[in-house]
Amino acid sequence: MVKIKILLGIITLLIVVYILHFLSYFFLADYFAEISKSTESKIVFGKYNLVIGLIQSIVIFFGLIISFKCMYEIIKRGFFTKTSKKLMYVAGIIFLFSGLVALSLDSIRLFNSANQGTLIGILFMDFLLALIGFIILIISEMSCIGFEIKSENDLTI
């Protein structure tokens, strides 16, 4: 359980970072608008990059919230509960989907950009996110099987 609590702490930290990130959009709106204007002709998707980035961040933030709820449920009620396996499945889908979408968009950016070195690094991060989502999906399947075994064990007198 200690490892789950550590993971919960890390997820909480990430959620706080994302909240600060969203708040920066409000407080530094003019700054971001200026950057967006100056770079829109130089990068793929132009002025929409900011919106795309914001939507991606919101989706990942939602995935983090689901992960937080899942970890909290595991700490409160133990492994292999109905709620935790469902939440794990949803979190896995969100991260896999986000990773794949980010991978696609950054691949398009890569082929249209001069700064390919940096983008290859970002592509690798997107791939890692998709891989994490996929791993979480596999763990959620194991959690399903664990739940069935636990239910049968609980009803074995």
């Binding site: 049968e152 009803l155 074995t156 007198i157």
Partner: protein
């Protein structure tokens, strides 16, 4: 379920209460209730042995198979 548990019948014959049987067998009353109601998925041989010993009966007296 096709396996019926006739524990209530044997308990009535032996004039024993569920609580008493649960204590002798070493299971909780809740688990005994699950067993009696037919909701149990499985019974351990050790539990069955303890029940038969406590009620002085055969497994066939407690367990009955019916075609559903």
């Amino acid at each position: 379920m096709s396996i019926i548990i006739n524990l209530d019948v044997i308990l009535a014959q032996r004039k024993m209460k569920s609580k008493e049987l649960a204590e002798i067998v070493g299971i909780t009353e809740a688990n005994l209730s699950i067993l009696k109601s037919g909701k149990a998925k499985a019974v351990r041989f050790s539990t069955l042995e303890a029940i038969c010993k406590a009620l002085d009966c055969q497994p066939g007296d407690i367990l009955e198979y019916t075609k559903n």
